[in-house]
């Protein structure tokens, strides 16, 4: 099996309401040296092994479903699943 790890994050200029809320919670907890928090999504996709156009398809899946190119960027890694 192939394991694909996808990381989706908001673009820099997009309001990260969740990141802001989490940052202020961590600060209130007493950790003052925290400068910034961003929250994103993380996906693990498993695919059948012999999959010629895996890379191409993962790209399409990210563009169409996992990330919204208007506000988010993504990156992914393809690896062998143990």
């Amino acid at each position: 099996m192939k394991l694909v790890k996808v990381y989706v994050t908001l673009k820099d200029s997009v309001l990260d309401a969740q990141g802001e809320a989490i940052k202020s919670a961590i600060n209130t907890m007493g950790y003052k040296q925290l400068a910034d928090v961003h929250m994103g999504k993380y996906f693990e996709l498993s695919f059948d092994d012999d999959y010629a156009q895996l890379d191409q398809d993962v790209n399409a899946i990210c563009d169409d479903l996992l990330a919204n190119p208007n506000i988010e960027t993504y990156r992914y890694e393809i690896m062998e699943e143990q």
Binding site: S13, V14, A21, D64, N68
Partner: protein, 739 residues
């Protein structure tokens, strides 16, 4: 990054990319300023003079709408309109479209549409009490549309649920013309506990302009202007023009604004939300309305991003922000008040008397223009009009359905996406938070009681663009009347409307004719009902590849229920009740769902609507409800009598046995001005004496869920439980099916 000079903007005609025409630009530079506007100033004019902010194409048409009645406290021109409902209370409401943002980013587009309309209500000092929405999409065929629908619905629910306002009604429909241009209209209704309200004005020399709420980022700034085109370095490819909402902040902002106006009215002279064109439109409008000038210091504006230009800050459409005008002696109080809600609040400027709009950025005066020139000097256009050719060609066409098997047609019709249950979507909206909702989605209008009184407010969103497409004038009338029937069937009397006018390009004469005629239709119906248009919104240029959407006015109507004992729903209550249809039925199949089912296209003209008769039927139904005669009441609309009967039977798993003078086909006719009513048998005489004419006793409600129907053509027995499951499952099935 250097901005283009005023000279460059002129010679390279850069203003065109912002949407200003040559003659508009000349008007600004030659008549108004008598100099060339700089980069920031050109940007301000371009947004303030856009159709969205100025209504320069639609103003002339909008003036046709009635906006007065004995109840009107505030009409169009404020953030939202206000109607007196007695006992020193008033309802405040408005609807807004968020079509384009939802096409680009469906979740956030829809969510920020909801967020924006809520701000319009609490900026009037009103406590928002309910939300509604009207959604239009392409057919549920491909994965793309389904994803779009899912995201829009999730965005609507995501914002409303989180902020804690019940979504009590709405509509959702599917037609080819919306495939690439979905419509997302949202409405908010609020309650004002006194009939005084805060105008959105900035008056009084040296009074302070205070900014409250979320920080400003580069959200929603025209993606296609040269600001983003020519000056983006590679890093800024990261930039996005899409607004993102934060309902959590808006909840704090809403609670704070409602409380400050209720408890500290003397601190606040004026308040307005920052909606489209953010800072510039809110502050310029506030100053212009008061006949004042304004100085703003942009260095004080709370910023989420670094190195924002004056242009970007002024045009940003970052969400969850408000502007207040406050007397200097209350500065401390106001700032502390918002601080206690953990909201940013800062003084960003001052009111002046010279009627100039002056903006400082990094210690430089970047804008110095007459404030009225942004709001008052916009040229008003008188667009060319032409009746669409299709109307002339198809004038005498009359569609007649063929019914081979009544039972089969019946089953098919209830599965049409426009007629099937929308519960799959609306069950994802919290319709009960605040514990005031008396009628949830699923009946005719949503009903919310006013705690501590006997009163309740009924509300509905309606549009039927198929009718408007076939005949804009009659279609416009029908839109209002259908909304009114929903209110009346719920036990209320209609008291006013808001609207979203969704159309194509106004520079296309046929499109403009559609706008003009349908507004005339809406206006005439409103005159008849004495329901003024107290707020609204215009969204033009809804097209894809130069093909416009159907002309799609959406009417948001509010009704008053004087006593909650009058609240009525569409569900049959009990076996043995008598079933009546009030209103005559004709062969009205043009524009109907059965025409779409059988012919696959819209064609023909609409019957002239008899407004007086419609009003009479509504009045009679209202009287019958007030006299406690009615056990259920449902308005007849899309899908006609067959669909209305089924919908009424579903909730309590009842059936009916009817014998009618109508043909089988006429069970699907969509003639206007009709109601389906049930009464207890002992009230037969009183009820019939009240209604007098134009009614037919159809039969009675039965205990098993079987429909026994005798028309002039045949007698059929239809299995109601199958009808119900077809109706209930149709949408979920389509959403799940693979492409």
């Amino acid at each position: 990054m250097t901005e283009p000079t005023a000279k460059q903007i002129q010679t390279e005609k850069l203003y065109q990319q912002w949407g200003l025409t040559d003659s508009e630009y000349q008007l600004i530079s030659e008549k108004i300023l008598k100099r060339l506007p700089n980069y920031t100033e050109t940007g301000l004019y371009s947004v303030m003079w856009s159709e969205h902010c100025s209504y320069k194409n639609s103003k002339k048409v909008l003036r046709k709408m009635p906006n007065k009645s004995s109840r009107v406290i505030a009409g169009p021109g404020e953030d939202a309109g206000i109607l007196d409902i007695g006992d020193n209370q008033a309802v405040v409401f408005k609807a807004e479209s968020h079509n384009h943002p939802s096409a680009v980013e469906p979740y956030q587009g829809a969510a920020t549409g909801v967020g924006g309309i809520i701000r319009d209500i609490f900026s009037m000092g009103a406590q928002p009490i309910a939300l509604l929405n009207s959604l239009k999409f392409g057919p549920l065929k491909d994965g793309k549309t389904k994803h779009l629908v899912n995201e829009v619905v999730a965005g609507i629910g995501g914002y409303g649920n989180c902020i804690g306002l019940p979504t009590v009604g709405g509509e959702i429909s599917f037609e080819d013309c919306y495939e690439h241009n979905p419509l997302v209209n949202a409405m908010c209704v609020g309650l004002l506990n006194n009939t005084e309200f805060k105008h959105g004005t900035a008056s009084g020399d040296k009074n302070l302009i205070i900014y409250v709420g979320a920080k400003t980022g580069r959200d929603g700034i025209h993606g296609a202007t040269f600001a983003s085109d020519e000056f983006t370095d590679t890093k800024n490819k990261q930039r996005s023009a899409v607004q993102v909402g934060n309902p959590f902040i808006e909840k704090l902002l809403m609670d704070a604004c409602v409380e400050i106006i209720e408890k500290h009215s003397d601190w606040v002279l004026g308040i307005q939300d920052m909606g489209a064109a953010g800072l510039v439109s809110s502050t310029a409008e506030m100053a212009s309305k008061a006949g004042s000038g304004l100085i703003l210091n942009l260095d004080k504006v709370p910023q989420r991003e670094t190195e924002m230009s004056a242009y970007e800050m002024m045009l940003s459409e970052s969400q969850e922000r408000m502007v207040l005008c406050v007397k200097p002696e209350f500065e401390e109080n106001v700032l502390n008040f918002f601080k206690n809600f953990e909201l940013d609040a800062v003084v960003i400027g001052q009111v002046t008397t010279d009627k100039q709009y002056k903006i400082y950025h990094h210690e430089q005066l970047v804008t110095d223009i007459p404030v009225d020139s942004l709001t008052e000097d916009v040229p008003e256009y008188d667009r060319e009009e032409k009746q669409p050719q299709r109307m002339i060609d198809d004038k005498d066409y009359h569609f007649m359905p063929t019914i081979d098997s009544l039972s089969e047609t019946w089953q098919k019709m209830v599965q049409r996406p426009n007629l099937a249950s929308k519960k799959h979507f609306y069950q994802t909206y919290d319709s009960q938070v605040k514990a005031n909702t008396l009628v949830r989605p699923g009946s005719d209008a949503g009903v919310v009681r006013i705690r501590g009184t006997k009163k309740a407010i009924a509300m509905t969103n309606d549009s039927n663009s198929k009718y408007v497409y076939l005949n804009p004038f009659v279609g416009g009338q029908i839109t209002v009347m259908e909304a009114a029937r929903n209110i009346v069937a719920s036990g209320g009397i209609p008291i006013g409307i808001t609207d979203c006018l969704n159309y194509g390009n106004p520079e296309d004469p046929e499109s403009f004719w559609e706008l003009d005629k349908s507004v005339e239709g809406i206006s005439s119906a409103c005159e008849t009902l004495d329901t003024p248009v107290i707020s609204g919104n215009v969204s033009l240029y809804n097209e894809y590849n130069e093909v416009a959407i159907y002309p799609s006015p959406m009417v948001g109507m509010v009704g008053l229920i004087e006593d909650i004992k009058n609240v009525t729903t569409s569900a049959f209550k009990k076996a043995g009740d008598l079933i009546y249809i009030v209103g005559q039925t004709f062969d009205d199949f043009n524009g109907s769902e059965i025409q779409m089912e059988q012919l696959g296209q819209l064609k023909g003209d609409l019957r002239v609507l008899d407004l007086e008769k419609e009003k009479l039927h509504q009045d009679l139904i209202h009287q019958a409800i007030e006299k406690d005669l009615v056990t259920s009441c449902h308005d007849l609309s899309e899908g006609g009598l067959a669909v209305a009967l089924s919908e009424s039977a579903f909730e309590n798993n009842l059936g009916f046995e009817i014998k009618t003078s109508l043909t089988s086909a006429q069970l699907f006719s969509e003639t206007q001005s009709r109601f389906l009513v049930t009464i207890a048998p002992e009230n037969q005489v009183v009820f019939e004496r009240l209604i007098q004419e134009d009614f037919e006793l159809l039969g009675q409600v039965t205990a098993d869920s079987s429909y026994k129907v005798t028309t002039t053509d045949e007698t059929s027995i239809i299995d109601g439980s199958v009808v119900k499951s077809n109706w209930k499952e149709a949408i979920a099935c389509l959403m799940k099916s693979e492409v």
